[in-house]
Symmetry: C3
Amino acid sequence: MAWFQKEIHLEARSRGFHLVTREITQQIPDLSKIKVGIAHIFIMHTSASLTINENADPDVRVDMESHFSKFVPERAPYYQHTLEGDDDMPAHIKSSLLGSSLSIPVRQGRFYMGTWQGIYLCEHRNHGGGRKLIITINGEKE
Amino acid sequence: MAWFQKEIHLEARSRGFHLVTREITQQIPDLSKIKVGIAHIFIMHTSASLTINENADPDVRVDMESHFSKFVPERAPYYQHTLEGDDDMPAHIKSSLLGSSLSIPVRQGRFYMGTWQGIYLCEHRNHGGGRKLIITINGEKE
Amino acid sequence: MAWFQKEIHLEARSRGFHLVTREITQQIPDLSKIKVGIAHIFIMHTSASLTINENADPDVRVDMESHFSKFVPERAPYYQHTLEGDDDMPAHIKSSLLGSSLSIPVRQGRFYMGTWQGIYLCEHRNHGGGRKLIITINGEKE
């Protein structure tokens, strides 16, 4: 039985949805030691989020950004939290809609996901900067 | 301490929200061996999702489908990912809104949920076919 | 290695989004014994939910309630589940949008979250009453 926990950093990205599976796995070599378990990925921010979606056609990521920015509008007349910029309150709402963590099954040292699944960083700010994640892996060692 | 991990199959269902608590528990007899722990249920697809909601009145499932299909419309003018059918891009968005996994407390060999809670398979495609889940259970044995 | 599991109670609150980090941590003294692990927080209801968002400006919570009540309207013409009140079916939808559980990293006896992150109880009913949570903590002891 083993626990690994590590804070990692994702580089700054533009507003939108970004495939980051590889950027994450490259920073957690301990994943390869786990035979069966769960990897938990947690983002330490309230204006960016994490989700799992299609890892193939990049148009999916473009359409996700279009949809969420339409249905969580900027400058809604009812917003009171406006001092941090037009993109800030929508970013908080999107963060709760999409969620701040993922739990992914681990098997034979790898994420045990479907063929078409990848991890998205959902950057909801125009200039969010780098993002910090806490990775916690628990499982049986090889 | 024990880890169980198993890939299970849910039969094909029509587009909509479906109560699948029993179909899942019937396929994981090892659940009964866990005194205290967590069961993690992960769907290996990006056009169907999992959620917990009311297990009683079937109208709740009908209304969920009505709501999500209205607020995540087909043929939105901004969609670029359109080659896989009108229901495909909305399915990806709904999948991220609802989420691809659940973590449920386990106690005395059973899911430790509220009286009115059940597990929904949210099938977002018109013809999604059967769906694969990975069940990972971790806990203390009886 | 240790497992703690406990049912706790949150006091009744008005409809809206409420910061409850302290009300939760005060009821789980065993958290302080965990060096590294995961805390899982599960709400046993289908008309209230849990999310992580900004713990500072209370206007964020007000705007969350405004947004979700606009985009998940009461008395939508397509609702069939109407006998339990105008706020009931929207509460079920919001509950699935936001989610019924959180998994939070634990480090040195505390939730390992970002500086600005807190736990929200999202109360979707007008008169929801007190709410029950199951807290499950798994990790290595100090």
